[in-house]
């Protein structure tokens, strides 16, 4: 490392690496230098002039956000001149600001308010007429109130640099300069709301939250988004058991400052009018709301009878329920119901992947690795649509470290803006295309390979062999679809593999298609899944069907008993994301009439009189997981304080045959989310929903 530079800030001797900006050097040492436009990681603007500092031997005040530290530099941030400069800057800034704080969403957590409070004047000398522009709706989720805007250009950069979308710009000039959306009167973009999150004032507001509440009226709970597999932390603002907003205000999760439309807005399913809030029992072909005890009695009775008679159970688990629930479900199925017929919708070929790695514990890339790796290869996925956080990380890596990105996909993807090579190849040809990149891929000293569901079965073995042959350290991400897709496989929602990819005791059970096709099933128990979506049929017409669900899905309609289930936002537990990082779910609200699946399981066990299977709480189940599933023995303090811990659940071969035929991604876009997405009005109302296709990325010049 190069020698440190010595400088003085406010009389304090400070050392900093060459090239460090004065604002960073100051902040690192606890000296606050205010700024609106400066955001670490984005391009420099020097526009807000709040960070002006005095530097000896420089005649003019300097912006600390553009000035690099210099040997012997003497900086003052607290002189009367600087105090006056900040005060006057805020006075100027407020001249055209509407000062409508009492009705502004941002009131109470507004950087402009804070700045004026800390550095501003108590009164204004401005007595002229203010420039006014009416509020505009940019999109179904984004509103813009120009008079509040201070033109710090954070939103423009978040969209252009952070997201690679470039849907916000600046039109006109001078005092009428205005942030404008991509299509004149409206916005066409990812609808991620990053612009709203990064706005220091109330200029950009979200449709879901605007004029709904004051920030201090809400309880905030940091939990994990329940949609895609990326595992972003979302902080839910809840008032009276209603979620009013989602954001990641403390930037603490693996997603840092990132959230997409799903994590930010698609929580609205929790209060969808069709949400089930009472157990339902089918009587004479009609559902009747019944008490929990009556529904539980019906199920426990049936389970007991079928179990006693040695009848056939089929169990379908979920990609969205917690690890604790999945673990408990497969254990209950195997040990109480005596069946291995348990499965889930597989969106990535995880068993083959872990078998191919044979327990190499250093071969799994984390979300953080994607930001740091020197090179990455994306195969068979439209990352910015399907895996938005992973795409964001690669983009940031390219921006900050010029990482070499390669893509092999069915059609153009957004990554082509900065990819070194973009190969278009149909799924069957994708491994050949990868081989053709061998020399380049091996030239960066390390590589992360992300692959979608086009690489499964033997193709995974071929891919790992290819990675092994490159002669550089290679890490992998096997892409899966949903918030706990990885956890579902890890916990053993598989007919041939129990938790931790151990061979199931006794003969393997039926796979999901086999269960649906079997005519002799006595009981089908579906927890948080919708296998009958899209018109799939269930052959066992006499089977007793128990469904734990939030909505009256196609599968729920076939049920004999429906238990109204709590969503991921209404329960505690853990989930494991696409990169195998396990994180904590925290209950943010309770929806009347619903129960977490784990609680429903316990109630069934209790009703059946099986004492050993009444879980005390999710923590107790996680203790069992830690004891029994390899790799999940993660440090609890990390988990409980909102951290993420990498899990490598296999140490050795996985003792089953590949079943690539059972692996199929749902190929959701940013605006769809399987069955769950159907119940989010936010996702359904954005105009992009029906327009956006995978591999259809229109890209313009920088």
């Amino acid at each position: 490392m190069a020698d440190l530079v010595n400088l003085t800030i406010d009389g304090r001797p400070i050392q900093a690496a060459p090239g460090t900006l004065v604002i960073e050097a100051a902040r690192t040492h606890g000296i606050e230098v205010p700024a609106f436009c400066y955001v670490p990681g984005f391009s420099l603007q020097a526009a807000c002039r709040m960070c002006l500092v005095e530097v000896e031997k420089m005649p003019k005040l300097q912006t600390a956000c553009t000035l690099a530290v210099g040997e012997g530099m003497v900086v003052r941030t607290d002189s009367p001149v600087i105090k006056q400069a900040r005060k006057s800057m805020l006075e100027l800034l407020l001249t055209n600001h509407p000062l409508d704080c009492p009705v502004c969403d941002k009131g109470g957590e507004c950087e402009l308010q804070d700045m004026v409070f800390a550095y501003g004047a108590g009164e204004s000398r401005f007595t002229e007429v203010k420039h006014h522009v009416d509020e505009k709706q940019f999109s179904p989720v984004v509103f813009f109130d120009a008079p509040r805007c201070i033109l710090c250009y954070r939103c423009v950069r978040a969209c252009n640099e952070g997201m690679g979308v470039g849907a916000l710009g600046v039109v006109y000039r001078g005092v009428v300069s205005e942030i404008a959306p991509s299509h004149g009167d409206h916005l066409e973009c990812d609808e991620c709301g990053q612009c709203i999150d990064i706005c220091p004032v109330g200029a950009l507001t979200s449709e879901s939250y605007r004029y709904k509440a004051r920030p201090w009226e809400m309880n905030h709970t940091g939990t994990i988004c329940t949609h895609c597999s990326n595992g972003c932390k979302t902080t839910l603002g809840v008032r009276n058991d209603h979620i009013l907003r989602g954001n990641n205000r403390d930037q603490s999760g693996i997603n840092g400052d990132f959230l997409c439309i799903k994590g930010r807005y698609a929580f609205d399913f929790t209060h969808h009018p069709e949400r089930l809030q009472s157990p339902l029992l089918k009587v004479n072909g009609e559902f009747q709301p019944v008490s929990w005890s009556r529904a539980l009695l019906a199920v426990a009775k049936k389970f007991g009878e079928v179990k006693a008679a040695g009848g056939k159970f089929g169990v379908v688990g979920s990609n969205h329920t917690s690890n604790e629930e999945n673990y408990w479900l497969q254990k209950f199925a195997r040990e109480v119901l005596n069946t291995n017929s348990i499965d889930h919708h597989r969106t990535g070929d995880l068993p083959t992947f872990f078998d191919a790695l044979s327990g190499r514990t250093d071969a799994l890339a984390t979300v953080a690795d994607l930001y740091n790796t020197k090179a990455a290869l994306v195969i068979g996925a439209d990352l910015s649509q399907q895996q938005p956080l992973l795409a964001y990380q690669l983009r940031a890596n390219w921006r900050h470290h010029q990482a070499a990105i390669y893509t092999v996909t069915e059609g153009p993807v957004r990554e082509r803006k900065y990819a070194r090579q973009m190969r278009i190849a149909q799924p069957a040809q994708q491994m050949d295309a990868v081989e053709s990149l061998r020399t380049e891929l091996a030239s960066h000293g390390e590589l992360v390979i992300l692959f979608g569901d086009t690489i499964k079965g033997d193709a995974i073995r071929r891919l790992v062999a290819f990675g092994d042959s490159l002669g550089v350290p290679v890490k992998y991400v096997c892409l899966v679809d949903y918030s706990n897709s990885r956890g579902a496989a890890d916990m053993g929602l598989l007919p041939d593999l129990a938790a931790g990819y151990h061979a199931a005791a006794s003969t393997p059970g039926l796979t999901l298609p086999e269960m649906l096709g079997a005519t002799d099933l006595d009981v089908l128990w579906v927890v948080g899944a919708n296998p009958l979506a899209g018109g799939a049929s269930f052959a066992a017409s006499n089977a007793f069907v128990v469904v734990q669900e939030m909505f009256m899905t196609e599968t729920a309609k076939r049920a004999d008993v429906i238990f109204p289930a709590a969503s991921a936002y209404e329960k505690d537990g853990t989930v494991t994301n696409v990169t195998g990082e396990v994180q904590q779910l925290r209950r943010a609200l309770k929806t009347m009439g619903t129960k977490p699946d784990l609680e429903i399981f316990g109630s069934i066990a209790k009703e059946m009189g099986i004492r050993d299977f009444i879980p005390a709480n999710p923590e107790a189940v996680f203790d069992q997981i830690r004891a029994n599933v390899r790799g999940y023995n993660v440090p609890l303090p990390i988990l409980r304080t909102g951290g993420a811990a990498l899990t490598m659940p296999v140490n050795g071969r996985v003792p089953v045959a590949s079943r690539p035929d059972l692996v199929q991604s749902n190929r959701d876009t940013l605006f769809t989310s399987g069955s769950l997405g159907r119940y989010s009005d936010k996702l359904n109302n954005v105009m992009e929903r029906d327009r956006v296709r995978l591999y259809d990325s229109g890209v313009t010049a920088p």
Partner: protein
Amino acid sequence: MLFNEPSPLEVKVLSRRFELPNSASIDTFLANDGYKAFMKAVAMTPDDIINEVKASNLRGRGGAGFPTGMKWSFVPRNADKPKYIVVNADESEPGTCKDRVLMENDPHQLLEGILIAALAVGAKAGYIYIRGEYRYLIEIMDKAIAEAYSKGWLGKNINGTGIDFDCYTHSGAGAYECGEESALLESLEGKRGIPRIRPPFPAVSGAWQSPTVLNNVETYCAVPSIILNGGKWFADLGTPKNGGTRMFCLSGHVNKPGVYELPMGFNLLRMINEVGGGVWHGRKLKAVVPGGSSCPVLRADECDVAMDYDSVAKIGSMLGSGGVMVMDETTDIVRVALRTMKFYQHESCGWCIPCREGTTWLKKLLQRFDDGHGQSSDVNLIGEVAKNMLGRTFCPLGDAAAMPTIAFVEKFRHEFEAKLAVAPGSFEDSSRLIQVV
């Protein structure tokens, strides 16, 4: 075509061909020393060329007055990237109309200056950024460029020297801010004219992130004469550290407004009285803005000054771009201050807070004053708001708006007070609002 009768007091260096028939044609140019300086420069080393320009004490004619030779010496000798010559012909400083005359009457002199700059730094292409309103000048320059190509003074292997150089015109589209060098480069790249953060300076990273020499039209036009006659000859025409002649644009209340080429250090009063034929209608002189509207106004009693960068700076103003705006005793200074601020408010790019909001506030304040609704506290407020912009904006436009405003209030406070809504009673101490340096 000339716009005004020349004055016998002029020292014609850059304008020496103006009165020749067909002065803009390459034939006239070639018959009158045209491209001789370039051929002489071909035989010189780049260092020799730069040293000659340094010796001439030529300072940037756009307004800032930075020594040209030094600017050229900042261009890295060995750069991987191509280097560019860019001409700032975005002449927009109110009071300034000299580049127009130079390009209209002698376009080849500019091309020759560009070629010599290219030799000095090793550039292979040049771009003349001409403000959009000067469409006819783009046509004149395009014609001159075409002539130069056809006669072998542009293109490959120029006149057998083995030197290649291509030159293009580029139209602006109405933005004063694009006269600021880094904003001009942004505009040249097809973007909004927002200035860039510096460093890096254009000499290191300019047009398309390549090393770039960027000068005003008049600066380039002075170069051929410097090479031909020597830097010392040019320097001696002016005053110490202020070499050569200057195209002064005399406007406002004089009998003979016009563009006159006068030696650096020419006395301002003489310029008004002897070159400009005196203040019109026999009136008395009230004030002069000496270098375009960005420069603080001079009271009549301050006008006995040598017009060079250092002398004008010494009395608290600037030589600027050579736009000398003369105001007689009937001039309404508040109205002039308002019109000046209206301009800067209109042209502020809006990038930074103090310029965007400050110019707007000041315009509204001055408008209210001019409308007769001013209050006594407003007089100080005008100065204070301007002071709060000064030195704190992203680019010099904020200073350009603040400095003249401060000077107007400070030097003509009584005129502001006379416009108050209520007849002035006891005013605050009218001490100097700010020391203009």
